[in-house]
Structures are given as C-alpha cells and as structure tokens.
C-alpha cells in the first residue's frame, strides 16, 4: 500500500515521448509476446509524470495536483492513487 511519505521515481523500464500535452510510453521488454502494450498519458497523467523526480513524496504530489487543478485533496488523492495503480509497472516506490 502506497503511503503519503513514499517517494516516487520513474522506472528505466519504459521509454517516453512527449507529443503535444500528452505522453506515449513504450515498455522495454525481453520477449516478443510482451510487446503489445503502448500507453498514453492524458494531460493530468502528464502533469503527474513530469512531477515525479525521485525526491517528491506522495503527499507533495497530491499537493501539486491540488494547486495545479484547483481541486480538493480528496479528489487529487484519488487521481494520484489511480495513476500509481495504472502505472505501477513503470514506477519505483520507496
């Protein structure tokens, strides 16, 4: 379970490309059977992805989402947890 003091880093197991306000993510894989997945991040996902720097905690990321989107902490927490869940293959959580 991810806690508020956990620090997020981006994994080396994915290659990203920013296109407009969105990202395309291609996982680095070792088998041809695992190559079907290509991911995109929408504007909010892009904002969170760019804030993840190996130093900020989950709490600080939630605060950044609250400030950027002028939303409440509960909504921002739900958004961030959903992001972490969907992107867990490409995140290092410490």
């Amino acid at each position: 379970m991810t806690g508020p003091d956990d620090i997020l880093s981006r994994s080396e197991s994915v290659v990203t490309k920013k296109t407009g306000n969105e990202y395309v993510l291609v996982p680095v894989v070792d088998n041809i059977a695992d190559m079907d997945s290509v991911y995109t991040l929408n504007e909010t996902g892009t904002f969170i992805w760019e804030k993840i720097d190996g130093e900020k905690t989950v709490r600080e990321l939630i605060k950044a989402v609250v400030e950027e989107y002028n939303t409440d902490t509960e909504t921002a927490t739900a958004d961030l947890m959903e992001f972490i869940d969907e992107m867990k293959l490409f995140l290092i959580i410490k």
């Binding site: 290659v15 490309k17 407009g20 291609v26 680095v28 070792d30 088998n31 290509v38 995109t40």
Partner: protein, 295 residues
C-alpha cells in the same frame, strides 16, 4: 555464387562467402531485388562453420515460433529466434522452421558497424542466407538502425496518391489491397512495408515476401488504421493517440531503449506530417469511394 547484393527499400546489402562453402543461392523472392551496388550499407560475410555464442553473452530478447491461422496465433515452439548481447556485439540466433536443409544460424551484428557475420549450420553445398526468418530480422535491424519503420501494413497508390492501411493479422490488409487492385491502383504490398523519410516526405517500400516480386515504392499521403466494420467510418487521430496507435502496429524488438527512442521519433515525425485515421470498413468498393471522396 560467391557473393551477391540485394537492394530493398534502397538499403543495399552485400553477402560474401570467402571460403569454398557454402555457395550462396538467394530464394526466388529476391530475384528482382538483386543489385550491383558498389557501396553497400551492410556487408554480411557468410560461413558454414560451426558457430557458438560467446560464453559471456546475455539473452536480451526472444521470440517463440507462432503461426497465424485465420486470425488465431498458435504457438508451435519456444525455440525460434533470440537476440544476445556481448559488449557492443549483438547476435541473432535462429532456427529455420520451414527449411529442408538449414538447421540454424547465428548472425553477429552491431548497431554501429556495417560489417556483419553470418554462420549457417547446413550440410548442403548451397544455402540461402535470406531464408525465413533471417530476411525479416536483417531488414528489421537495418531499418531500426536508420530510424526507419517496418510496419504491418498494406500500401497502394492511385493517381499519384499513396494510401497506407495498417493493422495486425486479420484486420483486412490483404482484403483492402485486393479492393484497390480491382480499382486499378498500384499495389506496393499487402502485408509488410518499410517507411523511410525522404526530402519529399515519407515513402513506403515493399519487402520481398512472394516469389518474383518487383521492388515498388510510393509516397505516403494518408495512413489508415483499419478494422472490419458494418459500415465505412473514418475518424482522424491526433497527437499521442495517433503515435501510440501507429507504433503498436510497427515491428519492434523493444529490448533496447535507443532503438525504441529512434522508432518513437520516426513515428512522431510521420504523424506530424501525414494524417492518420482510424477506418472501420466494409469489404467492397464503397470504402475506396469514401476515402477518395474525403481526399
């Protein structure tokens, strides 16, 4: 013959055998692609000696042997081809599932050196150094090194306009090419294309799949990501959606970050300069009318 060159998508590859064996005998698929280039992009020395992977090499990518029948992918064997790394040297180790004589091969190559070495384990005097799957693997790495795109797609050209139809197995690439052929279009290919950026834009090239194919190419003016549907529906894609959908149909060995980055750059570039659409289509002439109406 002791050496020959092929030119595919304007890549020139020379195969050379310096010893008595094996005699090089490329298959009928390549007969129209033979060339006499004085400056090959890649030179592949061919030997029929026994080969062995270096002891310290690491397997970085592998592929089982999968056959596609009526849209179904059936795994036939775990042992097909694999990529290995030893320092800067890379190796393709492969078996030949359809060969009557070649048992296996090892290709030593590099992302920076144009001199490659191919060892083929064959008891025969003659060998085809481009036998499946070596042809596709060699073409993949040549195109990937140059940042070009090898893609599951059919391509056609009509009245100077080039249309590309991309999709995985069973989405209608061959059906689409057949419809355009009936309408008088030039068919670039019905299954696999190489896309290269030129000074006039992106061009599509065929790769030898069928016996006695001629080399053909055309400009790419529109890209369609196809699927079968109850009616013809065209929808424009933009930005990351276009890039992610198109890159999913590209042939890629995604073990190497550098190669992934090159492919992403190229696909992003083509999506910036060539419109990309999704196309659900009925397999009849109406889809051609719909595409040309909107052109």
């Amino acid at each position: 013959m002791k050496e020959f060159s092929v030119s595919i998508a304007n890549y020139s590859v020379r195969f050379v055998c310096e010893s008595e064996k094996p005699v090089l005998n490329p298959g009928k698929r390549f007969s129209r692609f033979l060339s006499s280039s004085a400056a090959p992009d890649i030179i592949i020395k061919v030997s029929s000696e026994k080969y062995q992977l270096p002891e310290n090499s690491i397997k970085v990518f592998d592929a089982p042997f999968v056959e596609e029948r009526k849209g179904l992918r059936i795994k036939k064997s775990d042992d097909f081809w694999s990529i290995h790394k030893n320092g800067q040297d890379l190796y393709v180790k492969t078996s030949f599932p359809y060969s009557t004589h070649n048992a296996g091969a090892l290709l030593k190559f590099s992302l920076t050196d144009r001199n490659w070495h191919l060892w083929i384990d064959s008891p025969q005097e003659e060998t085809d150094p481009l036998e499946y799957p070596l042809d596709g693997l060699i073409l993949y790495y040549i195109s990937a090194i140059r940042g070009d795109i090898l893609i599951h797609a059919s391509g056609v050209s009509l009245a100077g306009k080039g249309f590309l139809f991309s999709g995985m197995s069973g989405t209608g690439k061959t059906t689409m090419a057949g419809l355009w052929k009936k309408a008088g279009a030039k068919i670039i290919h019905d299954d696999r294309l190489i896309l290269r950026k030129t000074v006039t834009g992106f061009r599509m090239f065929n790769t030898p799949v069928y016996d006695y194919e001629e080399p053909v190419e055309a400009q790419v003016d529109k890209i369609f990501l196809i699927s079968h549907g109850p009616s013809n529906i065209i929808h424009r894609l933009y930005g990351a959606q276009a890039v992610s959908r198109l890159i999913s149909n590209c042939i890629q060995h995604s073990w190497n970050r550098d190669l992934i980055e090159r492919l992403m750059d190229s696909v992003s570039e083509i999506c910036r300069t060539v419109p990309v659409y999704t196309l659900a289509f009925c397999p009849d002439i109406s889809v051609i009318e719909e595409i040309l109406k909107n052109d």
